[in-house]
């Protein structure tokens, strides 16, 4: 292990790439723990939007059962848009983002850490609460399991694509609405495969192709989006 000697004469060790990755995640989770309201508002928003649909279209169970996957997915999409603004803006405003850009390690890795933390704070809670909402729509147990599976695969993609939008709109006026405008069209494939899988299990067909395609999208996003987001951050910080 390389050692850094410093002004106080104290000995500190050099942080590895994964150390940095872990540090960023721990930091974002710690910050979120200190302002819990942010996480809760996203979750409450999600629950509210889903609960509004039966009020809007009427309580016929047949229709609701049919609509459920689409409603949950669209609400998840909107809820993740809502939380995107927070992904980089606080760090941008207080100067931490500048320090992140100066980190002597891969900015992509650091960005990936932020994406993972963002997903744990905004995507994962949605996945966990979704089955309860599915019950509101009288979804069968089998469909609920599939819903959880596809949300687990799909919500990280939303965070990753969202990260690009959030980085591009950093510090812009009306950034919140703008980011939705940029990101929502790019999220359409996730919506299609995500709802497709649940519909497939409802009609007794195989879910494999939908899940496989979502998995492929997840891998693709995992490879490219951190790097693209890092470039976007550099552009926005200039």
């Amino acid at each position: 292990m390389t050692r850094c000697a410093n002004a106080t004469g104290a000995v500190t060790s050099k942080l590895s790439l994964f150390g940095l990755f872990g540090l960023v995640i721990r930091r974002d989770l710690l910050l979120a723990m200190r302002r819990r309201a942010d996480v809760l508002t996203t979750l409450v928003f999600f629950v509210m939007v889903v609960s509004l649909f039966p009020l809007g279209v009427g309580p016929e169970m047949d229709m609701l059962r049919k609509m459920a996957p689409g409603v949950v997915w669209v609400a998840a999409l909107l809820a993740s848009m809502l939380s995107l603004g927070r992904m980089f803006s606080a760090d941008y405003l207080d100067g931490t983002l500048e320090q992140m850009l100066l980190a002597p390690q891969s900015l992509s890795m650091l960005v990936l850490g932020k994406i993972v933390a963002h997903w744990m704070l905004s995507g994962l809670p949605l996945v966990l609460i979704a089955p309860v909402l599915g019950l509101q729509f009288d979804m069968p147990a089998q469909a609920l399991w599939v819903l959880i599976l596809v949300l687990l695969l799909g919500t990280p993609i939303l965070s990753m694509i969202g990260a690009i939008g959030a980085a591009l709109t950093l510090g812009l006026r009306g950034g919140g609405v703008l980011v939705s405008l940029l990101v929502l069209p790019l999220c359409i494939p996730v919506l299609i495969f995500g709802t497709g899988a649940v519909e497939a299990v409802n009609t007794g067909m195989t879910i494999v192709p939908h899940v496989a395609l979502l998995g492929a999208l997840l891998l693709l996003a995992l490879v490219f989006t951190p790097w693209v987001t890092a470039q976007a951050l550099r552009i926005s910080m200039e």
Binding site: R173, L178, L182, P185, L186, I188, P189, V228
Partner: protein, 245 residues
Amino acid sequence: MAINWFKYSAPTAFYGLAGKMIPWFAVPAAVLFMVGMYIGFFVAPTDAIQSEAYRIIFIHVPASILSMFIYLIMAGYAALGLIFNTRLSSMMATALAPTGALFAFISLWTGALWGKPMWGAWWVWDARLTSELILLFLYLGFIALQSSIEDPRRADRAGALLAIVGSVNVPIIYFSVKWWNTLHQGATIKFTGTSMHVAMQQAMFIMLLACWLYVIAVTLARVRSIILERERNTQWVNELKEVRS
């Protein structure tokens, strides 16, 4: 002043060149447009199944084709600008976006007009129409992002990144929408005639050509105004006779 003149020279030279080139594209565009319309509406025979309503394809099809091509060309220019830091390429990308959005909109509009007699509904969730709608959203996102960034350099580079991400996504979106469409047995708008009449082919081809020429002319004109706007503080712009008068 130690300005890197190489970087500035391209837009400077291009401004004059573009001005000279515009009539060479605009005039043929207008002529071909009229010829194409004439063949399409008066020479081409009535379709056996769709009767007169099919004639909308002479606008709809070129508009759809161009809206997709323009996105790719735009992304290409934007990428060039991003990689090689050439300002003119970025300006071209910015100039192409509104025209692409316009064609996407025309394609949707004419698609709706076509859908009404064919399907009895103004809008059907046909795979191609839906993709076209998403494409329009992508254009609008690009335009919105660029116009909300004040610093032109950041606007160019941020827009370029978005356009590249968008163009990687376009095939995925198209495929997923098609997949969604087949699962739901949605409507498909297709030209049902087994073989196209020669006059129909001619009209279609001429209209396509006219649209291409229009795109070039209008993009050049828009690039000229972007150059003027961005270089308004430079000496050469203030010496232009159209600026001084």
